[in-house]
């Protein structure tokens, strides 16, 4: 059978009757022996929830039978709360007497043409019936499910009979595709027991589902209403019971209606009824259909390990004993698999399950492991523990780009955290202050091949975002390599042999008694690699035929998100060589920093007396200049900048002076700062910038709020301690001290204002972009590049004829296109 289309609508009572297998009339669930009563809400015809029982309708046992609907004949019609609004609009649109639509005959066509929503159409209906000239009474919707016409409340029976009288032709005019009387319930479908299974507690006592509780209430009141009507009870009693039935059915559909007290369990807990099962993040849609839980995964805290390769992940032994990979037993691997089985579930590397050729799963236990190992033949599948070198997917939320999930090789390790190399900290945006990450084990050979070929860390070194390396050296790697590759850094033979061998045992050691740091670095480069670039400070870096001739290696060469050297290496030699180079070079850097020691001190930021004096003078000059500017401004003599008012011109000119001063101070600092590890970090790009050092050691500078000098606070001034309209440096947020010397109270407050604004901006921005991302993902999640190169959506509509309209993968090209000449030169050399 092919499904041609799906129509969403409302079932009529005929349909409900057809689907039903049992008529529910009894309020009791079980008899004295504990067997479900026929005609009760746990009727055996509605399906099975207990093991060993067969369904009375279809004969299936638990799992085979998904359950069958029953029905409940309502004594009086009931309004469905969620349809009350629609019913109300419909009532308003039709004459109460002749049941025709309240639109004049000549307007019918144009009314239909409009194709508007029901709510909009209702606004343009007449106040007087154009067909029988009856006046329309004033309508009022009484929440949650009653309708008032004039002074009278309509009961559900009248409402239903009114809706029944509406003709199909009129419904077509308002494009209403359902028979409206079906919006009012006369018959209630009873969901199968599989939808509301009861739980048997240890004590043998049964605990029923919330829906069953609610349905019991409905059945009880429905029966009571019937008895009272049959007995000819007074009208008010019947009305009360009817209203109670309406309440129970309303809360059965939705237990969170405004103005209606929620139905509660005997314990006082609010019942979870149908709407509550579907709604919210944990509901059926968002929680179970759009997102599912998976097997073969692990999650723990992560910690750094610079001594495992960048495409490895350290997995705790305890996790390794839980996660498995299915292995087909062949003649070639049967011996080693048997060993796994014999190890059992508790000794790594063991196995947890075997799957026999007939598809039966069997758990391996200490009792059965020998027997299973013996019967193992070709055709069996063994789910063995993950082992070193197996592929896995490693992920950290929020998964903002494709490098948030990458393929890592597994490495089993002691202790309870997952370990990752520091170089991949950038693409994951991870640190180790308690970050947790997820690990998934691909189960099929296809998925294992895919992760290895497409998702492995080395294949993701270059980011498609900016056509450069996103994986590279960070922090100490950079200070280390910066120190090694300094000019005139010589190593004696015993030193350099130890340094190189601590990193790599394969590299040939030069037969010399002493070599430079640059030579050590060169050992790790491919022998025919040439490169010319710049260091962070702007000096030349030259590599010729695998030899670092000039320059220091820093962030600009091998840093994450910046490294030009890594970029070129990846382009010319591919992922594997780049990975090994990066791994060696970072270990080398760390080893070296450990040798020389790398600590920082507050005294690193002490500046010489002359330097301090000079900075003081610069600030003094700035003050004077700004005061002069302000005086010019007040006398109206200020030079106007094109397109700016007097005030703006002044501000721009002050800003220029401030920038100049900051530059001056920075220059003085570079001259008067002593060589220190703090400075090394700034220069190599490991952490911090010269500006940070200037701000701590010399002066913080102008504090900004709302992209200008400070302006908020009191009327025309920031603090009550200032004069109104004082626009001097001090009263507009200039901080002349450094953090080390300490700020004045005013300065401190200015800094706090700035900090608060940045903090707010940051959190608002991440929230905003997070939501944008969510919407984009929602819109594009099932598009894919087909084999013919077109991009198509879920129903095969073409979205783009060539990916990105140029068919270029930014992670595989050089900035601005493919360098055909270079590739050709290499091929035909």
């Amino acid at each position: 059978m092919i499904i041609d289309k799906i129509v969403f609508g409302i079932m009529d009572s005929q349909m409900i009757k057809k689907l039903s297998v049992a008529n529910i009339t009894k309020t009791d669930l079980y008899d004295q022996e504990g067997y479900p009563i026929e005609g009760g809400l746990m009727d055996p015809r509605l399906g099975v929830v207990d093991p060993g029982v067969r369904c009375r309708t279809c004969g299936g046992s638990i799992g085979d039978c998904q359950g069958h609907f029953g029905l409940l004949q309502l004594t009086r019609p009931i309004i469905h709360v969620h349809y009350a609004k629609i019913i109300f609009t419909l009532l308003k649109m039709f004459c109460r007497d002749c049941s025709r639509i309240l639109v004049a005959e000549k307007d019918l066509e144009s009314f239909k043409e409009k194709g508007l929503a029901l709510k909009e159409l209702a606004k343009s209906t007449k106040k007087k019936c154009p067909w029988c000239t009856k006046e329309v009474k004033k309508w009022k919707f009484v929440k949650p499910s009653s309708f008032q016409e004039g002074a009278k409340l309509l009961d559900a029976t009248t409402v239903r009979s009114r809706l029944e009288k509406i003709t199909n032709d009129d419904l077509e005019i308002i494009n209403f595709k359902i028979r409206p009387e079906n919006l009012i319930l006369t018959i209630l479908p009873v969901p199968p027991v599989t939808v509301r299974p009861s739980i048997t507690l240890q004590s043998g006592e049964r605990s029923e589902d919330d829906l069953t509780h609610k349905l019991v209430d409905i059945v009880r009141i429905n029966e009571r209403l019937k008895e009272n009507i049959d007995l000819g009870a007074p009208e008010f009693i019947i009305e009360d019971l009817w209203e109670l039935l309406q309440y129970h059915i309303s809360t059965y559909f939705d237990n969170d209606i405004t103005g209606v007290p929620p139905a509660r369990h005997r314990s006082g807990r609010i019942l979870k009824t149908i709407s509550q099962r579907l709604k919210t993040k944990e509901g059926r849609f968002r929680g179970n259909l759009a997102g599912k839980r998976v097997n073969f995964c692990a999650r723990t805290v992560t910690s750094p390990d610079p001594k495992i390769n960048i495409d490895e992940v350290g997995v705790p032994l305890e996790i390794a004993k839980e996660l498995t990979i299915p292995i087909n037993v062949t003649e070639n691997n049967i011996k080693s698999i048997q060993k796994n089985v014999l190890n059992g579930t508790n000794i790594w590397p063991g196995a947890n399950y075997v799957i026999r050729p007939d598809g039966r799963r069997k758990k391996i236990t200490d009792m059965t492991k020998e027997e299973i190992a013996k019967e193992l033949t070709v055709g069996y599948i063994v789910e063995r523990h993950i082992q070193n070198g197996d592929v896995s997917l490693f992920n950290r939320q929020p998964s903002l780009h494709r490098m948030s999930i990458m393929g890592h090789r597994i490495r089993i390790m002691p202790n309870k955290t997952m370990r990752l190399n520091l170089c991949v900290t950038t693409p994951y945006n991870a640190d180790f202050d308690g970050d947790e990450m997820n690990l998934h084990i691909p189960q099929t050979l296809e998925s294992q091949a895919e992760t290895d070929i497409l998702m492995a860390v080395p294949k993701n070194i270059r980011s498609p975002r900016f056509s450069g390396p996103i994986i590279g050296a960070v922090r100490d790697h950079l200070s280390g390599i910066y120190l090694i590759t300094q000019d005139k850094n010589n190593f004696t033979r015993d030193k350099f042999v130890q340094l190189i061998r601590s990193v790599n045992t394969d590299i040939e050691i030069p037969n010399k008694s002493s070599i430079t740091g640059k030579e050590i670095f060169s050992l790790f480069l491919p022998k025919d690699f040439s490169y010319e670039g710049k260091s962070k400070s702007g000096n030349k870096v030259i590599i010729e035929n695998g030899k670092l001739i000039e320059g220091v290696i820093d962030k600009a060469s091998i840093g994450a998100e910046n490294g030009k050297l890594l970029d070129k290496l990846e382009k010319l030699y591919g992922p594997k060589i780049t990975r090994d180079f990066l791994f060696d070079i970072t270990r080398l850097a760390i080893e070296y920093t450990m040798w020389v020691g790398f600590s920082i001190s507050i005294s690193d930021q002490d500046i010489s007396k002359e330097g301090k004096e000079k900075i003081k003078k610069t600030i003094e000059i700035l003050r004077k200049e700004v005061d002069d500017l302000i005086e010019e401004y007040e006398n109206g003599k200020i030079k106007l900048l094109p397109g700016r008012s007097m005030k703006d011109s002044l501000e721009v000119m002050i800003k220029r002076k401030l920038n100049k001063t900051l530059d001056d101070v920075e220059n003085i600092m570079t001259k008067s700062l002593p060589e220190s590890n703090t400075l090394t970090m700034a220069k190599s790009g490991a952490r911090g910038d010269l500006i940070n050092i200037v701000q701590t050691a010399a002066m913080v500078g102008q504090e900004m709020a709302m992209s200008g000098r400070m302006e908020r606070g009191y009327h025309q001034r920031i603090f009550p301690h200032f004069k109104k309209n004082d626009i001097s440096l001090e009263s507009r947020g200039f901080v002349a001290h450094g953090f080390k010397d300490g700020l004045t109270p005013f300065e401190f407050f200015f800094d706090a204002m700035n900090s608060r604004e940045s903090l707010m901006d940051k959190s608002l921005k991440t929230r905003h972009s997070g939501y944008m991302e969510r919407r984009l993902v929602g819109a594009m999640q099932d598009m894919k590049v087909e084999y013919d190169g077109t991009i198509r959506d879920a129903i095969n509509r073409i979205v783009q004829f060539t990916p990105g309209e140029d068919g270029l993968d930014p992670s595989r090209i050089e900035r601005g296109g493919i360098n055909v000449k270079r590739i050709a030169d290499k091929l035909f050399k």
């Binding site: 198509r792 095969n796 004829f801 060539t802 140029d806 068919g807």
Partner: protein, 80 residues
């Protein structure tokens, strides 16, 4: 203003109506029906200018910084 020809503007890419043979060729090339092509409404200024009919296929040739030229097809549909 009434005589302003939008197709001459430098940010408007080249639009052409495909002949029925060309149209068939495109559909066959991608193995699709008209419904699977990207759409353009009949209210689009360029469609009006070319006097394209509904179900006509337009070939749009855009200039691209990286690819030189990129070709896109759209089918004219009734717009709202």
């Amino acid at each position: 203003m009434a005589d302003f020809n939008i197709s001459k503007h430098n940010i408007v890419p080249k639009h052409e109506i495909l002949t029925s043979d060309q149209k068939k060729e495109v559909l066959e090339k991608y193995g699709i029906t008209l419904k699977q092509l990207p759409r353009i409404t009949d209210k689009d200024p360029m469609v009006k200018l070319l006097e394209a009919k509904i179900e006509d296929v337009l070939k749009i040739t855009r200039k691209s910084e990286t690819a030189g030229e990129s070709i896109y097809y759209r089918v004219v549909v009734k717009g709202k």
